[in-house]
């Protein structure tokens, strides 16, 4: 028995040494344009891109914003600070790719709580289906402080997130691996043309991840307890055969929750007036022309104005 325990411990210790060594090499040696970790470690995200640019922008000053947007790529590509500026509002867009409520809450607690009294939460149904691992791993790689990265790991303790944290800690002087050329300012990215098409939301089955609804409720309650004003928004989507069915199923789960929380929801998912093929960058995102139209629509909306304009 002693021999079994002793040798098991030896193997385990050796495994830890190998793990640490590989993580260090993979975190610092680059192949072509990125670190080795991106090639080999499942779900590992790059250090860089919109997340890094946005975080750098955010911590480069202590500006208090009139409103901050949180959410997925629909958020950081859907709310243009330049358009808000025209209405006299100073907006910051803290959305990140597939960002879910768990990630949003960490960003809020670590960086955003004192930066605004108004929060626009962009709602995109698929985010409430996903486990959110990749999104959290991307944030773990790119948030400026280790405490925030650790808080993200705690939200979702998995081999993947632990690996992401280990890569982060082992990285020495890593450059921005994937600068986003569409990045404008205050977290916003502008999409001009059609980059790639993804199939429309024609899957009529909305497969809810209950954890995401729980996390969303927790985040909203915390913001409300902090006295923040909140408004929920969804931008128009290209209408497809399955979209109605899919979004209706999402709403059947989501509406009772927001009614209980008492937060306004401006849902323009099925809004079509003025939104044709020229207003979408792909089948899931608006392009800049669509963003202009959408942002104007928001300012025409009484609920939105009441929520964001003091």
């Amino acid at each position: 028995m002693k021999l079994i325990i002793r040798n098991s411990l030896k193997v385990l210790l050796a495994a830890i040494v190998i793990y640490a060594g590989v993580i260090f090499i993979f975190s610092n040696v680059q192949l072509i344009d990125r670190r080795m970790s991106s090639f080999f470690i499942p779900n590992m995200q790059r250090n860089g891109g919109q997340e890094l640019q946005m975080m750098r922008d955010l911590i480069s000053n202590q500006t208090k914003y009139d409103a901050i947007v949180l959410g997925s790529s629909h958020a950081y590509r859907g709310y243009d600070p330049r358009i808000f500026e025209q209405s006299g509002m100073n907006l910051f867009n803290a959305g990140t790719s597939s960002q879910n409520a768990k990630g949003s809450l960490v960003l809020y607690n670590e960086y955003l709580r004192d930066r605004s009294d108004v929060f626009i939460l962009d709602i995109y149904d698929p985010v409430f289906e996903l486990e959110g691992t990749e999104s959290n791993m991307r944030l773990i790689q790119n948030v400026p402080t280790n405490s925030a990265a650790f808080a993200l790991v705690k939200q979702e303790v998995k081999v993947y997130t632990l690996n992401a944290f280990a890569v982060r800690m082992a990285s020495v002087n890593v450059k921005d691996e994937a600068p986003n050329t569409d990045y404008i300012k205050n977290g916003f990215c502008e999409k001009k043309g059609i980059l790639y098409a993804v199939e429309p939301l024609n899957d009529s089955v909305f497969d809810a991840n209950e954890e995401m609804f729980v996390a969303f409720e927790k985040m909203v309650k915390q913001m409300q307890a902090d006295g923040k004003r909140i408004v929920l928004c969804s931008h128009p989507l290209p209408v497809s055969s399955g979209l109605h069915n899919y979004h209706d199923k999402f709403l059947a789960r989501f509406t009772p929750l927001i009614e209980r929380l008492g937060v306004p929801y401006i849902d323009l998912t099925f809004y079509t007036e003025g939104f044709g093929v020229n207003e979408f960058a792909d089948l899931s995102h608006l392009n800049q022309q669509g963003v202009v139209l959408y942002n104007q629509l928001l300012f025409q909306n009484t609920t939105f104005r009441e929520a964001v304009i003091p």
């Binding site: 021999l3 193997v11 495994a15 830890i16 080999f40 790639y196 993804v198």
Partner: protein
């Protein structure tokens, strides 16, 4: 947690209670999936338990009746749960083809997990008792454990009673060799499953689903990946099963012997899913006459066995086609009597065999003939990227695919060496061995896919 708890209990309990604990643990393990199906398993066990006792104490004619009765009832369970909908679907298809406006309803039932495996294991027991190679087991609990032993319950190896039954009566003590060998086997099996098979599956699944929307290069990579995915998935499971049993002192039969090093399909089947191949050899091929009735009959027997083997794998014509194609290949190979001698020829034989086996895996993996045809057509016509890649490929960027290819190359390089070390046929120093298994363990954390990917063979 299941494995360490059961193993700890096994060694903590007095010998006379161990079988009961293992039986309860096996029931719990089985009931993780669909609890009610334990009664199907119980029915199979009960029928074959009674039949074997009756066979042993009956005259030859009566024993034969009991054997046939047992086989029919066991196969009937398999037929209802696995093949009923297949037969009804085909019946309805033919009915509508001949304009007969009548259709039978299919059943909406889930296939009990591992049904094909424990059914075959149970059948082998009854046949062995009938042949006089095995005494009928009087202890119902021990016999139940033979069918239900949790490490090999859902995906084999399909054991023979002569190899396993007596082991449940033997007293095993905790010893370093068994624990060490067993754990090495488990780590190697996990590596194959989690690091190789599941990483490759992440690419293979979307390519098969969107065969018409990807380039021929993607299709070729997916076909090669699947050959290794299924090998690592299934042999990985066998390694875990054999290792988990070994830690408790049980020895299960080997199921794989580096099959992709084969120079011919005959050799391939002597190294792939050995427990099933030998089952078909002993209980179907030889009773059909084997190679004792001339060349033509031998060929026919081989073809029949492989067609049945295909059907055993799944209630779908794609599996039957896969089995028949292997049968035909084997018949041709036997007739041609090709000998691969010399390094270059052996290499050529290995490459050709791998290519042929990989090609036929397309029918095994595809969900329909249409899907299989789309893949083959895409490859032979050098299909270019027809449009935009479906969104499911967004996370599978070039870097990720290159990473998977490199991981596979590492596996191809180490497979023979590590397998031989695990089997004890290659000896290395204890320090080197420690670092090797430490590296495999670290790889599980670094490169493993820890999502919800079931073992492929669980569905059979």
């Amino acid at each position: 947690m299941f494995f360490p708890v059961v193993t700890a209990l096994y060694f903590l309990l007095p010998h006379q209670w161990r079988w009961l604990m293992l039986l309860i643990a096996s029931c719990v393990f089985y009931m993780f999936f669909v609890p009610a199906y334990i009664f199907i398993l119980l029915a199979t066990i009960l029928v074959d338990y009674v039949a074997a006792i009756q066979i042993e104490k009956s005259t030859k004619t009566r024993a034969r009746s009991w054997l046939i009765g047992s086989i029919i009832s066991t196969v009937l369970i398999l037929a209802v749960f696995k093949y009923y909908n297949f037969f009804i679907g085909n019946f309805n298809g033919i009915a509508s083809l001949i304009g007969w406006n009548y259709s039978l309803n299919t059943l909406s039932i889930l296939l009990p997990i591992g049904l094909s495996f424990h059914t075959f294991q149970s059948l082998s027991y009854v046949v062995e008792v009938y042949r006089g190679n095995q005494k009928a087991e009087k202890h119902f609990g021990i016999y139940s454990l033979y069918v239900m032993f949790y490490p090999q319950l859902v995906a084999g190896p399909i054991e023979r009673p002569q190899n396993v039954l007596h082991q449940f009566r033997e007293k095993h003590s905790l010893n370093y060799l068994d624990v060490s060998k067993g754990m090495q086997r488990i780590v190697w099996g996990l590596f194959k499953k989690v690091v190789i098979a599941d990483n490759l599956a992440q690419f293979v699944s979307p390519v098969y689903e969107h065969a018409e929307s990807v380039s021929w290069m993607y299709l070729v990579i997916a076909v090669v990946f699947f050959s290794f995915q299924i090998y690592c998935d299934f042999s990985g499971y066998s390694d875990i099963a054999i290792g988990a049993a070994r830690v408790m002192g049980f020895r299960l039969m080997e199921n794989f012997k580096l099959p992709y090093g084969s120079t011919g399909v005959g050799m391939f089947w002597s190294k792939w899913h050995i427990s099933l191949s030998t089952w078909f050899r002993d209980y179907v091929y030889i009773p059909l006459g084997g190679n004792r009735k001339g060349a033509a009959r031998t060929s026919l027997n081989l073809f029949i066995v492989f067609a049945i083997s295909g059907f055993w794998h799944g209630a779908n014509w794609t599996f039957v086609m896969w089995g028949m194609a292997h049968g035909l290949w084997l018949v041709i190979e036997n007739r041609m009597n090709v000998r691969w001698e010399g390094k270059l020829k052996i290499l050529l034989g290995t490459v050709l065999t791998f290519a042929g086996v990989s090609f036929l895996w397309i029918f095994f993996r595809a969900s329909s003939f249409e899907q299989a045809t789309a893949i083959i057509k895409g490859i032979v016509t050098f299909q270019s990227q027809p449009g935009f890649l479906p969104s499911v490929f967004v996370p599978l960027n070039g870097a990720v695919i290159v990473g998977k290819i490199l991981l596979l190359l590492v596996f191809v390089f180490i497979d023979r060496r590590v397998t031989e070390i695990v089997l004890g046929t290659r000896v290395i120093g204890s320090n080197r061995k420690m670092w090797l298994f430490a590296a495999l363990l670290a790889s599980l954390a670094l490169f493993g896919q820890w999502g919800k990917v079931d073992f492929i063979y669980f569905q059979f």
